[in-house]
Symmetry: C2
Subunit: 206 residues, 2 copies
Amino acid sequence: MARWEGDTQGRLERAALELFQEQGYDRTTVAQIAQRAGLTERSFYRWFADKREVLFGGRTDLESHLVRAVAAVPPGTAALPTLLAALATVPQVVRPREFLLVRTAVIAANPPLRERELIKLAALAEALTTALVDRGIDAQTARLATDLALAVLRLTGQRCLADESADFHATLARSAADLAAVAASTAGPASIAGSAVAASAEAARP
Amino acid sequence: MARWEGDTQGRLERAALELFQEQGYDRTTVAQIAQRAGLTERSFYRWFADKREVLFGGRTDLESHLVRAVAAVPPGTAALPTLLAALATVPQVVRPREFLLVRTAVIAANPPLRERELIKLAALAEALTTALVDRGIDAQTARLATDLALAVLRLTGQRCLADESADFHATLARSAADLAAVAASTAGPASIAGSAVAASAEAARP
């Protein structure tokens, strides 16, 4: 995080988020962001294709970081523990909490940005699935593990944003344990074909 | 499924998918779809806002169907079993396999349609989470269970499309069991903080 505080990219990100918060995302221009950061527009475009990418550049960083982290997990580790080990390294690349809070609010208020976030998340899921397949895990297991890991990451992020004092690693472990508990309540074949289904099938008739 | 074979909506869907397959999605017009179905354009617009909705109308049906099915599961059922019971009723509303195969291929070949699919899936996830919260399940557990159930649904759909002879309920149960197995390999707090993490954190350094 020290990196973020001082360098050009970090200055541009902080300036952009301040302006998004003060005057709204739509009304903020690249010229204003560069000016606020004390840099030229040319500097801005060296780091970001457009103002939208200020919000999503971190996602690109996260994806390439996590793919490298997956590759570095000792061979033979099972799919989900591999991804959880990679997620444990997220603090190395994550933006500061104040950035993420504003980012979350800006995206939530803007449907096209929400769509962009979904697309970035889908790309992250595909990249992680591929990274697991490259380690010899079958594609279906890789995709299941990825879906589970991203559910854990989402919950961990939500909890850390909601509670300033939350420790990332403790929260990650707690979220993984919560996921395991929810998954353990899976009904077996007998109960899936059983009375709950019959009742719901009946009631769902038009 | 009998419904789909004969009614107006089904005729339009089949005509549209035939044309998408024969000449491509982009080159197909609403006029052509109506003509192929032996209906007027006016009939088309009574069922679909545009040709894209021929592909996604089923998603809307699926969402409202599943929300009703969740509400019909006996009270006190845990989050994930509730969703799995609801998923077991999917054959009541699912389109025929030949429709889904073409639909999948058309969407895969067209990035804006892939984005639309992501948005529809996100809406489905929110609707199911809300349906669970309405049953008294806390929001975080509801979202975890929804993410797990949608991972099971995705895998079930993939397996059923790949194997014509697959039974939906047996495949659903098998996919839920596979998910439970992947989730059960969750590393506990000790191993998350342990050697795999240290190794991957080290190797992930630039």
